[in-house]
């Protein structure tokens, strides 16, 4: 599975990812991403070019994809839905 994902990675990114936070605002966003999702993904490093959106979008994704105390769907079902959507959209991320 991992190999297949690598093979399908395709062309290089169109916007460079932010590797080192250039200011306190983006640093805070990266720390938030790490706290929520355990690491700073390439998605986070890209959308951080628009910090105002990143501040909402990263927790939004975490809150939708992850479970929670009041989540109605069990995590296995949710993961299956996410995988199905990514496959349908030809998204290899």
């Amino acid at each position: 599975m991992t190999d297949a994902v690598r093979v399908e990675q395709g062309p290089p990114p169109r916007v460079p990812t932010i590797e080192e936070p250039p200011d306190a605002e983006i640093d805070r966003i990266f720390r938030g991403a790490e706290e929520l999702l355990a690491f700073v993904s390439n998605f986070a490093r890209t959308i951080a070019h628009a910090p105002f959106l990143a501040r909402w979008a990263i927790p939004m994704i975490a809150s939708i994809q992850r479970g929670g105390p009041d989540a109605a769907l069990d995590p296995r079902l949710k993961e299956l839905v996410i995988l199905k959507t990514s496959t349908r959209n030809r998204c290899f991320f």
Binding site: L36, A50, L53, A62, S63, G67, A72, N89, R90
Partner: protein, 213 residues
């Protein structure tokens, strides 16, 4: 013939315990069908509603013009056949100098050659069109065109706004949320201001909020 709404009870969800920043987003939004639907999942609504506001209304630091943003969002609503968002964004159009003719053009395939739109606007509509059609990954011509007119930050912001518009279209279409009076989630002279920015920083400082893993 009007579609019957899906059978979702019209309660507000458990939003009492979750700060939604309703005073900052506008009280009309939480009272709307869209707001009432989303607040059934309050832990997500807390982030989804503000990100829609920031992406669709724009922010004070954005360099994307409100008119350009509206045209891109209208193109997405046309592709996704979203009556909800078409009406939301059309309501904002007159204040942005978008005419009835331009609304018809952007909803049809004639926008590509219409002299009504400037080059930067046409590039943004083109990019929105390709992203909404899920062709953004491969379309080199559309990418080159949009990069001639938008810098890197603007490209990320436009792409994020278009992607969130696609998400919003799927949400309102699949749940058959009926078109309704403007909720304030459109470009139109009211960019998200510093008070919402300040609130978002405070929210981020308090992560993870309410036990969200």
């Amino acid at each position: 013939m009007a579609e019957a709404p899906h059978a979702l009870p019209r309660d507000h969800g458990e939003r009492g315990s979750v700060p939604l920043g309703s005073d900052l987003l506008g009280s009309d939004l939480l009272g709307s069908e869209l707001g009432r639907t989303l607040t059934r999942v309050p832990r997500s609504a807390r982030w989804v509603l503000p990100v829609f506001a920031a992406a669709f209304r724009g922010t004070e630091v954005s360099t994307l013009e409100p008119r350009l943003r509206a045209l891109a969002l209208l193109r997405v609503a046309a592709i996704d056949r979203s009556p909800y968002w078409r009406e939301q964004h059309e309501a904002a159009a007159p204040a942005l100098g978008i005419t009835r003719d331009e609304l018809d053009l952007v909803a049809s395939d004639e926008w590509e050659t219409a002299p009504a739109f400037g080059d930067r606007e046409r590039a943004a509509i083109l990019w929105a069109d390709r992203v909404a059609r899920r062709l953004g990954r491969r379309d080199a011509v559309a990418y080159r065109t949009v990069r001639e007119h938008l810098d890197e930050r603007e490209l990320v912001e436009l792409t994020a706004a278009v992607s969130l518009a696609c998400m919003a279209d799927r949400l309102t279409n699949a749940l058959r949320i009926a078109p309704e009076p403007p909720t304030g989630l459109s470009p139109g002279g009211h960019p998200v201001d510093e008070s919402l920015a300040r609130w978002s920083r405070e929210m981020f400082d308090r992560l993870p909020v309410g036990g969200m893993p």
